[in-house]
Symmetry: C3
């Protein structure tokens, strides 16, 4: 992995899929929330392979309209029946406690207990995942089958949670490039033992950061590992002066299941990131969905708020509401697979390649076609491309390189994969038929 074009080597990704899956397996047991030791531990583990900067923002810090909340930590929780048997046990699944639940230690009758236990009758073996960040309450989640036949009686409820002045913790990895212009990849780290949402996003973001770190880049890259919503709000608040440097961005989440790719456009709607992702999906994916921007979803909501209006989209497989296991204990190690992670990483890598290589050229021979045969280009085969496609790519790049069309513009108009267009441009530049159009394009 020495250069940008190595990102196009498909054989690179299957082994990385295995590595990402191992990372998910390692992080799976940790109980994460928007603050607390789980997030810290997760970032510590990631640091083993990536020099992530860990940022700590104190409880009470104002971040735009919000305030960094108290730090919440959970040690144990259970419900015990009168015989002492644990009906619900946090040690068996950290989904059993509603995230940010108040602590409790009391005896309650069955009826009161059930008012605080959330189940999924439609999937009676699955434990749902729920949160109560901004409403004071106590609560537990359980498989419907765990509680539906409980006898009348009194139950011990114990939730050993603490709220304290502490910190919101997030990770940031920055890889400098030739330009101050940045590409942002953001992933949320606040979910407990759930794999697709979002250990898959964490693993992919970390792996993509490692890949990008290995070769010189035009853009500066910023990878954020943040708690959802409050994390992106905090980062934006603390980096308000520099946010405008972000020229393209993606929110990486739910990238490990077998569903087709889904791309949700940025608020700008047809930004370069939107076009790059859709071009890559069109040429390397059998089936994908695209959707317009909507202000509901993950952290793109904040990046795309009107004061910032960043060109940040969301590239996922099955995301919220699109798979039954979403936000349940069934979003587990069986739902995600190395091959899916590998495919997702490859798509992200191709998007990065496209953004990096998307320059604008000007033909040095704009009057009529140059004689390609004389230069050995007419029957040249670039890369591993089919000769006819490569020849058409040469003609298209020559025809469109008037200084106004980027290579992505050309790839879209020619309906030829971007990498073929980029290789054709390299061949033509090598033959002194093209020159980069100054000032050097930033996308």
């Amino acid at each position: 992995m020495n250069s940008l074009s190595d990102l196009l080597d498909s054989s690179l990704f299957p082994p990385l899929g295995e590595t990402m899956y191992a990372m998910i397996r390692e992080l799976y047991p940790i109980c994460r929330s928007i603050t607390g030791k789980g997030a810290e531990e997760t970032l510590d583990r990631l640091q083993a392979s990536l020099e992530i900067q860990i940022r700590r923002v104190p409880t009470g810090t104002p971040v735009f309209d919000w305030t960094v909340p108290k730090e919440w930590n959970i040690r144990d929780a259970y419900v015990r029946d009168s015989s002492g048997r644990k009906i619900i046990d946090f040690q068996k699944s950290n989904l059993h406690v509603v995230s940010y639940s108040q602590p409790v230690n009391k005896q309650v009758p069955l009826q009161e207990l059930l008012q605080h236990v959330i189940t999924l009758p439609s999937h009676p073996d699955w434990i749902p995942y729920r949160t109560s960040y901004y409403t004071e309450n106590w609560g537990l989640c359980a498989a419907h089958n765990q509680v539906r036949d409980l006898p009348q009686g009194t139950y011990d409820v114990f939730i050993d949670a603490t709220f304290s002045d502490g910190h919101l913790v997030y990770g940031e990895y920055c890889k400098p490039g030739d330009l101050d212009d940045e590409i942002l990849i953001s992933t949320h780290i606040c979910h407990p033992s759930l794999c697709n949402d979002n250990l898959s996003g964490i693993a992919l973001t970390a792996m993509l950061a490692k890949l990008v770190s290995k070769f010189p880049t035009r853009y500066t890259y910023r990878f954020l590992f943040i708690p959802g919503t409050i994390g992106s709000i905090t980062w934006l608040s603390q980096n308000r002066e520099h946010v405008h440097r972000v020229k393209h961005g993606l929110v990486a989440t739910c990238v490990g299941d077998a569903g087709p790719f889904r791309y949700k456009r940025s608020r700008q709607g047809n930004a370069v990131i939107d076009r790059a992702v859709l071009h890559v999906l069109k040429h390397c994916s059998q089936n994908f969905h695209e959707s317009e921007f909507s202000p509901y979803g993950y952290d793109e909501r904040q990046y795309c708020s009107p004061g910032f209006n960043l060109a940040v989209g969301s590239l996922t497989r099955s995301s919220h509401g699109q798979y039954p296991q979403y936000h349940t204990s069934a979003d587990d190690l069986e739902l995600v697979a190395p091959i899916n992670l590998a495919q997702s990483l490859e798509v992200y890598a191709r998007v990065i390649h496209c953004l990096e290589a998307n320059c604008t050229y000007v033909s040095l021979n704009p009057y009529c076609e140059p004689q390609l045969g004389r230069r050995g280009l007419y029957d040249a085969i670039g890369g591993n491309h089919a000769p006819d496609t490569f020849r058409m790519a040469l003609l298209w790049v020559l025809n469109q390189s008037d200084g106004k069309h980027s290579l992505l513009d050309i790839a879209e108009r020619a309906e030829i994969p971007f990498d073929v267009i980029a290789d054709a441009a390299s061949a033509l530049a090598g033959a002194a038929l093209l020159a980069p159009n100054p000032p050097s394009a930033s996308g």
Copy 2:
């Protein structure tokens, strides 16, 4: 009816449908034409419930390329056979006389008679409606069955019509608003005993004027009751200096039958009125047709002539050429119904609401989302809207309120009904999260 939002109360309209139908029934027997006593009497009746200004423009007044014609009045007409039996009798239907027919009083053989009698062989029981405003001629209309078996012989023809220097009469009702900018609703009053075309338009326009008169409005409203073509030309000619104040307009006609709504765009093609009507139809109508502007039709032809190019569309049910009863005696009191009139009025009312409420806001919290929960808005339900839709409306309004998008822009992009968007904007403005974007938008 105290405020704009009362226009969204669906229960308001069914009783008004009955009132409009009664109005049609009252006006049905009057023989109207582009001038003459029929139009005067029609306006007199409307004045009973609405303070319409009656304008009189003398015969011979030049109005752009045209001249106000002589006033035509008709007292009686018939055709009598040799036995004295009235074959055709104006007293039975005022459609029997071609409008603007010359007077005649003579005996004619059958063959000559038939050259002046228009029938509809395809609908042998219906009397057609015909006019001859600008060609001197005499003529009668009859059911085909009335004349097809007439024996040879001589017939008395009597048309007691007069042409005189008089006036073209039209009605105008103006309701001032905060702005000089105007909304124009125009309806034609020149058709005799025909219900859908256009007693329905007259009744709807009068009723809409009464509704609008009851609450303060941003726009000034102008309702015109005019003879077709020559009436709009006359009004435009006499108000040439002020015509530019009309920012949005509709020609109201054929709104009483059971056909689906039809909207014909203004010449501008995508003016706010076009977008408002189509948005309303999309969200409150099962089925509707839209068509591009065409220079053929009703008075929108004049409002959309290139020197004015007003944003005036045409919102109808079945209009000319789209129902077999068009311009025949079968366009009668059975073709129109109170429920259809009520639906049509409701659509017009919702368009008015949309134009009135279509402001542009700027978010006072443009950097990341504000914390809606803290303000009690996150689970708030606005109006009678579904909670999920209202919450999405809140998010959309916040996200798009950058001072460049009107509420209609937002409703279109969000695919959420305008009234939900408007209520969300009100709730957010009430929570000091939005401010109107100065200068206050005029649509």
Copy 3:
């Protein structure tokens, strides 16, 4: 043929189809290439009916990135078996020699011979057409059946070709108009005995030039009869200062077969020529194909190179790759027919009419409609058009003539054939209701 509108007379074209077919029959036997006597003789024959200027550009002249090649001439060629029998004989078909083949006169064994003989196994009776302009080689083409059963042995190969310093020859016919702005029609003359590609294009271009020469025109017309690629490059190189005068252009080729029309847009994509051709095809063709610009094809590749970016499209019937006979001996006198040539010429003529008549007017009566009846226009029938269509055309022209819409704009919006719109504009201008919008439009 005295005026532009005669181009719309359909009865004009069938006899011209016969004349074009006769021209093809006359030129068919000549062996053309990109240089040499065949091209000269072809132009000489065309001069019998059209005053074409013949241009000669010496071998070695630099033309942009290219150089005018040596002149190639071929006198005879054959392959003879050991018994003296001619297996392949140039005298029977000039396709038997690869164009620009090196001369050869030697005995070769069967195996070596077959390395230089190109056949089409899928069409064993057809002789393919091949060239080797820029690679030194010798070669022959034959029907697969001619050579597949040849016995082992030695064969005489004789190709009596010469390469010499000479000229590239092309023809140019210019017809001056009121404007310096030019319409360019370009056709290639470098193919030997092939009818659709491109004797059909030569015949149509010559006939169109004759038609256009007969009446005064607004535009200046330039008709080019050039060898493919090197010819357009040479012409562009030699006329670099004046190329900008070309406002609209077409490459005329493959216009004699029975296939549906095909239009390939110019690089500009929606230039007036693109819109004019597609409008004409839409209204006078049952079935046609349109395609976006692509930098592969005929001489439009050069006219549309980025330094020129001329508005030149390509209007054909079946073109390269779209008919099996393409570049084979089966592209013969049976593939093309007078009726097809006539249809093609008529479409080209209608495009010319559209470009010539495509003026912009301003209504002299922009406020409301003028009273057409008073001027005898309301029931007027223009040309041979249906009265309803003509009346709508009058209304559309009046409505849209605000100085911003050309007649082609109006025809497109109204979905009425251009010639009806143009006749309506003439009638309205005749009634002093329209005036040309100065400065007089150039399209």
